[in-house]
Symmetry: C2
């Protein structure tokens, strides 16, 4: 299995855009068509609807983008049946050639962290879930990240460590000043160090960072502080981040960042500009239009325009 | 559903000890008897072995202690079949009258945090997993904790927020000085504030804190800083913490802290002092002996001796 950062670079270059489509299924927002005939009180039936919905999104976006980011929480919310749906969705996305970044924000200490890493990372049969990458929380410190890095290297997988999150409360602890810099820059320094020790041919490492789109200046600074680190940028679209806001996340080739959009793409059928145009039954066309719109915005207003198309 | 802290206080008082038994199944360490006839290459079969093992532990400890702490990672490591095993183990523990603290160290932002909370918290039918409490990571900040607190209050459940973890690398970020105090004391202040807003009749709140047993002085100080916060103390036994080390976690009545032991109890059959005494087939007697030993140690060397027996 080749290096994760190299696979990501190749996929982004091939697609000519840095769009990552977030798979955040929520029952109330599914297209009406997919809720028909389903008993909302049955977690099993809702899980089936989630799988159909996510696979329907994947069918649309697979020719357009490099990867998807399933949000574990929404599947976990449906109990064991939801976890089976998550497994099915990951497998289907991989089958369609997409990279899968599982958003689980996991972490623990020692052998427990190793269990999470073994569970989720890697595309080969050794991985029970088969994700290409996993989001990881840093609070437990350097030794909690080591097992993830080790397994990621072995399996050609990656991790994205939370550095600066897009929510208003992200500042509570992340922005606390320690010495001459905020906590999140300390986390960034550790991430960059680990990236530097796991470089692929593309110049980026196995260890990436999550940096929200809602803080453009911090994003630009973090790009400079972490020159060998892939950035996963959430917060575009529904959370308020624009293409101009994320421009600072890229390197001069238009590489080095993937920008996630969940609700703005997968629930595009409910956005005013698409609702009337496509109606409830053509929800997949709305997904396609919203994906293409985001691709165009990022190519127009960020260095991602320098990627081959 | 009554207040979580009140239920926890009542359970600890009834048992007369603060022992929490960690359910961390690991294939290689299961009693030989439970591995017989199981194909280790089958995640499905291993999941069945995990369920049998954990339920076997529960049968032994249910009359002795107030609760168990399943570690999600080890179940997630077995894919969807492992998640079904986790569900079965939680349900069985509750059926046997034990409180269930699921160790998942989850968190995310906004409605995603709400999905995790809805997934795991609460004993009623609204909860797909049915845990009494969940461990939660604080890095995402104050607004990421709010949905957990809200759901916990609604459902009579609780959360335990990571404050100071027991691993050596816990110091990487947690011990960074911000102003005149380390980061973990900022987290402690937020937790205590939230506990104070969710008090039960017992004088403790819905929001607890995870504080490792491996830092006795910090444990004592955090007890003082968080007088209304239940502490979940991991790191006893295999990780090096002794009864004397955790003495500072309790209030003067012997309440306010639950002390977790995973490997030292559930894999007691492999500990030198029990291996010869019980042999491989009487592994449940080893679990019972190790549990009673820990109860006796805590009652002898900590304020927990003041609990009714």
């Amino acid at each position: 299995m080749s290096h994760f950062a190299d696979r990501l670079s190749a996929a982004v270059g091939r697609c000519g855009n840095p769009v990552l489509v977030g798979l955040d299924p929520r029952w109330e927002q599914l297209p009406a068509l997919l809720r028909e005939g389903i008993d909302p009180g049955s977690l099993q039936q809702r899980s089936v609807a989630y799988t159909r919905f996510c696979c329907g999104v994947i069918d649309v976006v697979a020719p357009l983008v490099s990867g998807v980011k399933p949000q574990a929480a929404f599947f976990e919310e449906l109990g064991p049946a939801g976890m089976q749906a998550l497994w099915d969705v990951i497998a289907y996305a991989r089958k369609r050639g997409l990279l899968v970044v599982l958003d689980g924000k996991r972490n623990d200490i020692g052998t427990t962290a190793a269990a999470y890493a073994a569970a989720y990372l890697g595309a080969d049969e050794a991985s029970p879930w088969g994700a290409d990458a996993l989001t990881v929380s840093p609070y437990l410190g350097d030794d909690s990240l080591t097992p993830f890095v080790d397994v990621a290297k072995q399996r050609g997988a990656g991790i994205f460590v939370l550095v600066k999150t897009s929510n208003p409360g992200g500042k509570t602890f992340q922005d606390l000043m320690t010495g001459d810099r905020p906590l999140y820059e300390h986390v960034a320094a550790l991430v960059e160090s680990q990236s530097g020790q796991t470089l692929g041919a593309c110049g980026y490492g196995t260890v990436g960072a999550v940096v929200g789109a809602t803080y453009p200046e911090q994003l630009r600074k973090l790009r400079a502080l972490m020159p060998r680190t892939w950035l996963l940028v959430p917060g575009f679209g529904a959370q308020g981040g624009s293409a101009a806001d994320v421009a600072g996340a890229f390197d001069e080739r238009g590489m080095g960042a993937i920008v996630n959009n969940s609700r703005g793409i997968i629930f595009a059928h409910a956005r005013p500009e698409y609702r009337d145009r496509f109606g409830p039954s053509r929800w997949q066309q709305a997904v396609e239009a919203a994906t293409r719109e985001m691709v165009d915005q990022l190519r127009a207003d960020t260095p991602a325009g320098r990627l081959g198309a």
